[in-house]
């Protein structure tokens, strides 16, 4: 396999290091070669905080990520030139034209596990799913601190369980946007309006509230 590259983009205090360290430790437990590089601003508050993670079965030579397979965007502070094949973003952080999904991590952390910080572990789970990392329960428990172990395992498992359809319905606007896009595509392809609605609904389901 070619080395996989991950970026976590945030600001100081958001948990970028917790996510990076947990992911790197898990991959290390699974026998991968891993590099994890932190890049951060020296500003006391609100400075950018980046984690560059690479993993492979072979030793990693260059630890600096130039094109990420997946970027987790908790804030938009990363290098302007950084490219990513797929972006997982908290609400409102996806940029026009990029391959991205928005998930209300902090909100889900509170709703599902009682604290917003567990949203970070939900995000980690989603990234692991996107990257196709297949870990065991033992791998996961060995990589996590004992404190809040059950909550963290649950949050990562929950994030890993999210698929594209589930994510779409976590955010009504996102579902509506996809529905509208599919409707437009069907209409432009020659379908009558009612047929286009049916096709879009059949593909992705009607948007929440529709």
């Amino acid at each position: 396999m070619a080395a996989k590259s991950v970026v976590v983009d945030g600001i100081g205090g958001q948990g970028v290091r917790v996510i990076g360290n947990t992911m790197a430790t898990l991959l290390g437990v699974m026998g991968y070669e891993v590099t994890l590089l932190y890049d951060y601003d020296s500003s006391v508050r609100g400075g950018m905080s980046e984690a560059f993670l690479k993993y492979d079965r072979a030793p990693i030579l260059n630890p600096v990520v130039e094109v990420a397979d997946v970027t987790l965007r908790l804030a938009d502070r990363g290098p302007a030139h950084l490219e990513s094949h797929h972006v997982v973003a908290d609400i409102g952080l996806a940029k026009p034209g990029e391959e991205a999904e928005e998930i209300p991590f902090l909100q889900l952390g509170v709703e599902k596990f009682g604290r917003d910080l567990f949203g970070n572990m939900i995000a980690l789970g989603r990234m692991l799913r996107l990257l196709g990392v297949e870990f065991t329960e033992d791998d996961l428990r060995a990589a996590l601190p004992r404190k809040y172990l059950e909550e963290n395992v649950g949050a990562i498992r929950f994030g890993y369980s999210l698929d594209a359809d589930a994510i779409r319905h976590l955010v009504p606007e996102q579902a509506a946007s996809v529905f509208a896009s599919d409707y437009a595509a069907a209409f432009l392809a020659g379908s009558a309006p009612r047929e286009a609605i049916e096709q879009a609904a059949a593909t992705h389901g009607a948007p929440t509230g529709a």
Binding site: S5, N21, T25, V34, L37, S42, I60, N62, V64, H81
Partner: protein
């Protein structure tokens, strides 16, 4: 021990412990602070390592010199501005012949500069930072495992040369985490060479030139030259045992790339197109090795995180011009390397075409 995630700065501390360090003094400064923080935590659990957070870098440097003279293997860790403050003490340690280790985790300077961004602008400061004629032995690793390994070598070289030895790192290397098993890295440890205090003999630790009996020799050129030559020979002899470098990549290419520390890591995708010479012992400069290798190549490029400090050294050693790819302002990335190579007209076409693809 098994493989685990280790940070570059942590590996330096663990290397020092493996080398038998029993004293650390320092003052926090990014990006070296993890060494101080972990030394503090380690000392709390292992009282054989004495720890001092001093009031500043000047005090830190003088504290480790005092500790060494008292019998400890001692070290400090800092970054560019703090390293500048330590220069007077380094000169004193050379004059007196004190084995100790200074770790400089480089950031972008001058001045406070960019405190958390990686730089390599202290190459010449490690050579010429203090007054007078002296040469520190200086190592610069490029992996977390090497941070551990060359810290041990630094302590060994300090004992064998009876002089301060410098371990260079940088913000990216210091903050880089890699999965390593440090127990598999075996470096023999050189035992303490300097006599302990209170061991029966009278010793004088004077920065002033003196005769053996302590009388000033401040107007005796012959005595100066005698002591200077003895110190120089001791350091050169010790340095010969630590002539570490890497020569590889595509040795059949017509261009040689020279890089070190983190620039060695980010330049890795250049491997198919260029030969590589990576000095690990930065000072004394690997003159013979560099001349032998460089003679096989039509062009030489130095990629470094300064405007061209090491490039100027290479030019002086080889008596020929070299191309410079300076990575400034903390822009340590393959993209910056590609831009630099393009600017001097030496960017391989294949590498230019890869700019939009993930690279390992």
């Amino acid at each position: 021990m098994t493989k685990r995630l280790v940070q570059g700065n942590e590996a330096v501390l663990l290397g020092a412990v493996r080398a038998g360090a029993t004293y650390f003094a320092g003052y926090p400064i990014s990006p070296s602070s993890e060494i101080l923080m972990q030394a503090s935590a380690y000392a709390a659990a292992h009282p054989e390592l004495r720890f001092l957070q001093a009031e500043d870098e000047i005090a830190s440097a003088n504290a480790i010199i005092g500790a060494s003279l008292a019998g400890a293997k001692s070290f400090t860790a800092t970054s560019g501005p703090g390293f500048s403050l330590m220069q007077e003490a380094i000169g004193y340690a050379h004059k007196v012949g004190v084995p100790c280790v200074f770790v400089d985790v480089q950031r972008v300077g001058p001045g406070t500069g960019m405190p958390t961004m990686p730089g390599q602008g202290d190459i010449l400061q490690t050579r010429y930072g203090s007054s007078g004629d002296y040469t520190s032995i200086v190592f610069y690793p490029s992996t977390v495992g090497e941070c551990f390994e060359y810290t041990i070598h630094a302590f060994n070289a300090a004992e064998e040369s009876r002089s301060p030895v410098i371990l260079l790192s940088d913000a990216f290397l210091g903050h880089l985490n890699e999965v390593v098993d440090l127990d598999t890295i075996e470096v023999p440890v050189v035992p303490r060479t300097l006599e302990r205090l209170a061991s029966g003999s009278t010793r004088l630790f004077s920065g002033v030139l003196t005769y053996e009996d302590g009388e000033p020799a401040t107007a005796d050129a012959d005595e100066f030259i005698r002591q200077f030559e003895a110190a120089r020979l001791a350091r050169e002899e010790a340095a010969r045992r630590y002539a570490f470098y890497e020569y590889g990549w595509n040795k059949e290419a017509d261009t040689l790339v020279i890089c070190f520390g983190i620039t060695r890591r980010i330049s890795a995708p250049l491997a198919p197109y260029f030969a590589l010479f990576r000095p690990i012992r930065i000072w004394p400069v690997l003159q013979d090795e560099l001349r032998e290798v460089a003679g096989r190549y039509r062009q030489i490029i130095v990629i470094e995180g300064s405007e061209g400090q090491y490039a100027s050294v290479v030019e002086r050693v080889l008596y020929r011009d070299v191309q410079r790819v300076p990575l400034l302002g903390g822009r340590m990335s393959l993209e910056a390397v590609r831009e630099g190579l393009d600017r001097i007209g030496l960017l391989p076409a294949e590498l230019a075409a890869q700019s939009a693809s993930p690279v390992g």
